[in-house]
Subunit: 261 residues, 2 copies
Amino acid sequence: MAGGSRSPGASVTSRVLAVLGAFDAAHPALTLSDIARRSGLPLATAHRLVAELVTGRALARGVDGTYRIGVRLWEIGLLSPLHGQLREVALPYLQELYTTVRENVHLAVRDGDEALYVEKVTGHRAVPTISRAGGRLPLHATGVGKALLAYAPPEVIAAHLRGPLRRCTPYTIVEPGRLARELAAIRERGWARTHEEMTLGSCSVAVVVPGPDGAALAAIGVVGHSLGAAPQRLVPALRAAADQVAARLADEPHATQRATA
Amino acid sequence: MAGGSRSPGASVTSRVLAVLGAFDAAHPALTLSDIARRSGLPLATAHRLVAELVTGRALARGVDGTYRIGVRLWEIGLLSPLHGQLREVALPYLQELYTTVRENVHLAVRDGDEALYVEKVTGHRAVPTISRAGGRLPLHATGVGKALLAYAPPEVIAAHLRGPLRRCTPYTIVEPGRLARELAAIRERGWARTHEEMTLGSCSVAVVVPGPDGAALAAIGVVGHSLGAAPQRLVPALRAAADQVAARLADEPHATQRATA
């Protein structure tokens, strides 16, 4: 009870978020002591907050005693504009694009200095990729990331070029000068590509979804094994999908704001 | 500050969940006074909690001053087993099914007395439907819902038959005896169908994803305009997809628990 009596309400809110933030893609199921350790909370505090969150179905306790994110939090999270606006508008276009190219199709936004994957459309004929909806990958090593970075505000590009630029494979562009020239080339031709820069054996092509002020609202990309020989053959289909998504977003009130909030 | 000093930590957790629960599909963007009213909290308390949640990116404030669900909550919500396990395993099969039938493909679970839609795969050639990922519809009026109800535990069926059974269209089955016979017929033939029972002009066919103990882990359904003449032609493709999803889930440790938590 010490934790409860010490803490004003505001602090409890941040503790609740710390409990939820203990979960990530590599740790979707946690024991109570995992949660306490990863959130930096005393065990008694974690125990009390977890019990409250289970009652509210924000967490769920499995038969093995570990905790997972609950149905209510999943439902509420889907109300985010990233899902409810951007993803809902884009999904049919991503779907048709997948049906055409039969390679992984990605929708991503820039969140800080990372590419945040909003949706991935795939099937059994597509090469497995490490991306997943809700996942994050470096801007400079992915197709959607390089497209988003190329059309980011100058101060964002400058900060990213100052690095560090993580080397994901031997082909990742980690020299700032070379990356700057690559971004200029992307703006020049209107599309980005990668060749084994994030994952060996995978190539990608991507374009941005343009916003009303020229900013990039999102990026759409295709990832496959062997796009290498003539990746530009995929550009017209990608461009058409991105422009249709942009037009649909422009039709909706507050679309830009909702899509990027 | 009165709210803060009055409330022990546990109560603040439930207030945080009340703020988040003020948002729903019909109300994805709320003003501060909307949030206070819908959560039943004093304005000052709502103001303080909302500010904390914005700091933690669980909420985001738009340029119009309204609040929406933030990026962090969306990311955390996707860690739910419904998404990370069930949806990830099922998506490629749903995708291939869509490519085959070119009609809306749904993945749903039973949550209490509702069908909770986990994923919807669609394209521009499919008829628009009111379902959406994260949405809920009545069990007795939808294809996936009737399939899930038919294979639910007897006490769940009995409680549902006691009603009330909401009439969504003139064709919704709202007589308990008729619904009970329909559920028996679904168990007999192994698949469910609806004919304009949820939405006029829409028909559906659905099968369950069987779990190791014979319980239904989920249901997969197809919704279209004109499945009516011979809906059973879709059953083999649906059955194959559902059985493949079931086999994949059985391969994963704790799959049942994760998929239904």
